[in-house]
């Protein structure tokens, strides 16, 4: 089966899966570390220039491209949701080592023009998938795949409170690849039982309830969850780029039956609150709603160096948030960032009211 590598929550996994290809979420490596093994060759077969560590380049966008260039997938699908990723995709196209589909996801979202562009891009993606050996799904087939993934997300969200932060984060990625529940960590393994509860609760009655928002967390970042839990906190809302915030809304059964593609577009493009949207008030409405519903004590904003979109929102988040905000910027240098980050998390939890 053809595999399609992708890394944007605005690409509906159902659309990929319904074409009979295997969606693989990018999860290759630590965006901040450059290994000798990563050394690559360029389009002329000469030692290639890795993008990671290049001044001005978002480490995440660079890591996606550096590893996608060596991936064995049939194609990679990236989106125009930020300029850094747009340029990274162009670099990959320039290198010509893996078919790269750059999906235009409009920044504006309140107009019919924007919605029609998104739909047209799904159609264009479909043509690529068919060219790669996939099959254009019938409405019924698409609707069935949508129901499967909807069910999978519902099941995952149903147990989210019983999963450790890192396990939930991993499952939120898995559910962007497959609707099969046996791919998830076992709740029994993960549930914060008395043994694995945070080592030192700072307050009686349970850990500090935290939300995390910001750019994507790769697997190498999951240590953040451990530190938070060890410091007496617990992430009750993972609103990072690849977390719960960017899951599509629940599909309407009626619309899925009537016009599944249109419903898919509405559930993804019409409702996912993200930082690149213009205007971006949906993001703040989401946070306001969820922070209050989940009784959050503190908010951690995690962003990459050179990520203008999240960086510019730091001051706004601090001003709007009903709870204290910790701004964690992840620089290129892993070691210093780890030490510094851990210390800052601990200090933040200590000062929470």
């Amino acid at each position: 089966m053809n595999t399609i590598l992708y890394a944007s929550p605005l690409v509906p996994v159902e659309w990929l899966a319904a074409h009979g290809v295997r969606p693989i979420w990018w999860r290759a490596c630590d965006p901040r570390r450059i290994d000798a093994a990563d050394c690559d060759v360029d389009r002329r077969g000469e030692p290639g220039s890795l993008l990671r560590g290049r001044r001005g380049v978002c480490p995440l966008a660079a890591a996606v491209v550096d590893s996608a260039a060596r991936a064995s997938a049939s194609a990679v699908v990236l989106t125009t949701t930020c300029d850094q990723m747009r340029y990274a995709a162009s670099w990959l196209q320039y290198q010509r080592r893996l078919p790269t589909f750059l999906m235009n996801v409009p920044s504006t979202w309140e107009t019919e023009t924007a919605r029609s562009l998104y739909l047209a891009e799904l159609e264009r993606l479909s043509r690529l998938l068919v060219a790669l050996g996939g099959t254009r799904p019938s409405n019924e087939a698409l609707a069935e795949v949508m129901r499967d993934f909807d069910g999978a997300r519902a099941r995952l969200l149903g147990i989210r409170d019983r999963l450790l932060g890192r396990d939930l984060a991993a499952a939120l990625i898995t559910v962007r690849e497959t609707a099969a529940p046996n791919e998830w960590p076992s709740v029994a393994d993960s549930v914060p039982s008395s043994d694995c509860r945070p080592h030192h609760d700072l307050r009686q009655g349970g850990p500090l309830r935290l939300a995390m928002v910001g750019g994507p967390l790769s697997e190498s970042d999951y240590g953040l969850f451990d530190w938070i839990e060890q410091a007496g906190g617990r992430i009750v809302l993972d609103a990072t780029e690849w977390g719960e915030r960017t899951l599509p809304r629940v599909f309407s059964a009626e619309s899925t039956r009537r016009d599944p593609l249109s419903e898919l577009a509405d559930a993804y493009f019409g409702t996912i609150p993200d930082v690149f949207r213009r205007p971006n008030h949906m993001l703040y409405e989401y946070l306001s709603r969820e922070l209050s519903a989940r009784h959050v004590h503190g908010l951690i904003l995690r962003r990459y160096l050179w990520c203008d979109l999240w960086h510019a929102e730091v001051a706004v988040l601090k001003a709007c948030s009903p709870v204290p905000v910790l701004d964690l910027d992840a620089s290129d240098s892993e070691a210093s960032s780890s030490e510094r980050t851990r210390g800052r998390i601990e200090a933040f939890l200590e000062m929470l009211p």
Binding site: R54, N104, R124, P279, L305, D308, L309
Partner: protein, 456 residues
Amino acid sequence: MNHPPRRISLEDWDQRYAELVDAGLHEPAYGGPLRRHAESGDRRLTRLQLDNSAAALQLWNFLLTEEQRLRQAREVGWQILGTVKDLGTIPVMAYALRRVVAFYPDGAWWLPCLMEDQTRVLQTADSLGIDDSFCPVRAMLGAFANQAHFPLPDLLTCSVGATCDDVSALAQRLERMGHPILWWEVPHRRQPEPGEPAIPLPGGFHAPACQVALVQAELTRVRDALQAWSGQPLGDRQLRAGIGAANRVRKLLGELRWLGYTSEPCPLPALEMLVAEMLAIHFCSDQPESIHVLEQLLAEVRARVTAGLGVLPKHAVRVFWVNPVADLRVMNLLEDVGGRICGTEYLFCHALDLIPEDLPPLEALARCALADPMVGPPQDRSQRICREIRRFGAQAVVISRIPGASHCGLEGLVIADMVRDRLGIPVIEIEVPPITDALEPSLRTRLEALIELQKR
């Protein structure tokens, strides 16, 4: 031309101005000695070498009085439109309206350079959490916040989609600060697929017909909003007139660039050529006057070319320059070390292309917006750069990185690779912050090395 063309300091300009006045210089209302701009804040002028012609005097005076012009427009009740990010599309529409002036708030980009550390715009941006990991356009946020520069526009438009993250993020901040924004979408320009209808764009690119139609729909939305806002019709007749006036500017610039970049010796310094090119974007808030200013400049250049005179020694090394410099002084520096500009891509070459006049106006403007080199992949931009290098006969390329710009981390790789691959000429990448004084020795060394390489 009693005085041979030369680059002179601001000090020399005091004397030169007095001589011009004695000789009966006729100046527009915004005229006067250049010294006054430096005294009222534009201190960078004291560090620049400027062309010594009356036409250049007028060009600088026109540029440096824009804020004044905007304030006067406000005083007499004209409506002010701020066109953020879009380089050369919405202003064409706006100037088709009466009693409306459009300007480019992102032009605050140059305030930290022009005013050196006198302006507080960067400190204000810092205080708002926008530090130097953003490109110098963060000065725009500071300028909106401290309100010490341009008057606040009555309406803001901002193009988003395939645009830089810097402006998109800052414009969103502006909206949160209470400045409503009319956002319009420009999609990433892609190659038409096999069998998909393709439309030629000014400047030589092609776009799928559906993308042109989409941008046209967005411009129709903007047009409707401008009509409602101004209370004036903005139909095809008005838009055609607006396009005609914009093309007048572009034609003047076309000839100016050709003469300026191909004549030997170099007839006009790089700095004045840069300022002239910038007029294409938004006409420095007065379209008819920008035409007049460019006509004077072109007349001066024609006269110099006819007389075989120039501002630099013959056979200066011919350099193609990519991206605008945050510090204008670097344009002087290139000439100081024996180079000259022969072709540019200052991020807005599409604003120099003629707008088709034989198409429905909004379709013509949609094609122009999609022709923006930054809207497509850097491969397209590199291709255009290669074409222009050949056209102007440049011998070397300088890619001037803009600190913090979301596109600069990567695009330079592609441009440099393609230029070397296709043309086999040397390319260097330098980074130019708003004030380069501390870096000048190293910048000078790098530029010298490039020039020396080509002189051999």
